[in-house]
């Protein structure tokens, strides 16, 4: 049962790590705590579900593009002009993205024919880890979560765009001066962050049920996890997500579902006291 709990926890953590990495990436580069990522990702996952009759891959692509376009557009046409006018005010942007999340959640409710969906993927079989049976789709979900982290690191090391976002996160002023179009970088990173939110919501819909409120839950858990990992720190977010996934899983087994969030908060407070900047520290310094 311990192994079962551990595996369930790692799967939950792996999926949660996706919106968390999105939060971390966007915050690291733009300094904005974006609360809308998972809600918009959920909208994207509903889009995928709606289009499933037209084929799995086109549907996934459509959900992914929807999330990217919304994320890119919000940054480009709303947040960037506001940054120009008001400067980078953490609370203001948190409230604004919260508002966006509310609007998008409302749209999700009204736009799609059902409030609760489950995304059916073709069954690929079962994998046995010791005696525990694990659906291969779950293994794929975890593999994708990990590979996204590696893909991001690869982009940062090898492409000009990747270097631009690292440079922007390290030194905004100098990034502008060397010729980086930081507003475009912000929008691009926002789009990518929302794609991560989408993938998270998508797998949530594959493994569990996706409701119009899942976005809120993912955001909420995502923030607790991001703070524990060191907000803005992508690796920290990943590790923290795995730990918290295991905590959720075991709290559910041993204490019951109602204690899961209590356990999360206890850990959050404990970490904040021991390591105020999270387990790996916050990366954003500008």
């Amino acid at each position: 049962m311990v192994l079962q709990g551990l595996i369930t926890g790692i799967i939950i953590g792996g999926i949660l790590s996706l919106p968390v990495m999105g939060v971390a990436l966007i915050y690291g580069v733009t300094g904005i705590l974006n609360y809308a990522i998972a809600t918009i990702g959920t909208f994207g996952a509903f889009t995928t579900w709606l289009l499933l009759p037209y084929g799995l891959w086109p549907a996934i692509l459509a959900g992914l593009l929807t999330s990217f376009v919304i994320g890119f557009g919000i940054q480009q046409f709303l947040l960037n002009p506001l940054i120009k006018k008001k400067g980078n005010d953490l609370t203001l942007f948190f409230i604004i993205t919260f508002g966006i999340a509310t609007i998008v959640a409302g749209l999700t409710k009204n736009f799609f024919p059902r409030p609760t969906i489950s995304i059916e993927l073709p069954k690929l079989g079962t994998l046995f880890i010791a005696d525990v049976a694990v659906d291969i789709n779950k293994v794929i979900a975890i593999a994708i979560a990990f590979s996204i982290l590696l893909i991001m690191r690869f982009l940062e090391k090898t492409t000009k765009t990747g270097k631009s976002w690292i440079a922007t996160s390290q030194n905004l002023k100098m990034a502008k001066l060397v010729g980086i179009n930081v507003e475009f970088v912000y929008s691009l990173v926002s789009g990518i962050g929302h794609i991560l939110g989408f993938i998270g919501a998508f797998f949530w819909g594959v493994l569990y049920n996706l409701t119009v409120n899942t976005g809120w839950d993912l955001c909420f858990l995502g923030y607790i996890i991001a703070i524990v990992g060191g907000i803005g720190n992508v690796w920290g977010g990943m590790i923290s997500a795995l730990i918290m996934g295991v905590v959720i899983s075991f709290a559910g087994y041993w204490l019951g579902g109602m204690w899961q969030s209590v356990a999360l908060y206890v850990i959050l407070f404990a970490i904040l006291i021991v390591a105020p900047k999270g387990i790996l520290g916050s990366e954003r310094s500008v």
Binding site: K163, A167, N171, K176, L177, V178, G179, I180, N181
Partner: protein, 236 residues
């Protein structure tokens, strides 16, 4: 007379109700080395950051290569060949030396970046020994070398350097200044320096005196009474 490269007309910049620059008129010709001298708080940094596009002027206009750039963003100005090395925070501290230089050469393609980096290494051999070291772990003098190296790697028409000598030993300042003069003589690059140190006058063709946000004088460097400048503007 070489053509005019950079021109500021009636430039006024305010922070709230405080005017940091008041109707500043300023011009630089191609291939010139111009020094802006003035005491702390005179508005030198404000001026350079406005020219680079980091600050928006309240009034006035900026022209670069015969084009009005007043409304352009920093990256567009950089693309046109104008670059500022700020006095501090001019590096990407958690990136290695080489990546800093590559970012300096942002608009160059891969091949010419290699060539340009080699040129920087010839000028600053110390940087070549440390290509993989993180910029934030270099010494103060080396960091300034790297920042100037990024400016050279940018391969721009006009390079502006804010407070080149700040916190550096006089000997280091002297060698950096002669490197800049050689660079101008070789490539024809235009250089604008803001300085609190009188040493900058050694390489400057022309000098602007800035005080309390206003241009007090402009003069050819040889004709200046250095002692007077020193006592009036540089607080020495």
């Amino acid at each position: 007379m070489p053509p005019l490269l950079l021109e500021a007309e009636n430039l006024t910049v305010t922070y709230g109700s405080y005017a940091a620059l008041k109707k500043v008129n300023f011009s630089v010709f191609e291939g010139e080395i111009v020094a802006i001298v003035g005491p702390n708080g005179a508005g030198k940094t404000t001026f350079l950051e406005t020219v680079a596009g980091l600050l928006k002027p309240k009034e006035g206009s900026l022209k670069f290569r015969d084009r009005n750039i007043t409304k352009l963003g920093p990256f567009q100005r950089r693309k046109m060949g104008l670059m500022l090395i700020p006095q501090e925070g001019n590096l990407f501290p958690s990136m290695p030396v080489k990546e800093n230089l590559q970012l300096g050469a942002f608009f160059q393609n891969k091949r010419s970046t290699e060539e340009i980096l080699n040129r920087v290494y010839r000028i600053f051999p110390k940087l070549q020994d440390r290509t993989r070291q993180l910029a934030g772990t270099l010494s103060g003098g080396e960091q300034r070398m790297l920042a100037i190296g990024m400016g050279i790697a940018a391969n721009v028409k006009a390079l502006m350097i804010d407070e080149l000598s700040l916190g550096l030993a006089p000997k280091v300042v002297g060698s950096l200044l002669s490197i800049l003069r050689d660079l101008r003589d070789e490539t024809g690059i235009t250089i604008v320096l803001s300085e609190q140190s009188i040493k900058a006058l050694d390489i400057a063709d022309r000098v602007y005196g800035l005080e309390a946000g206003e241009i007090r004088f402009t003069e050819r460097a040889q004709q200046l009474d250095r002692d007077l400048i020193k006592s009036l503007y540089l607080g020495a």
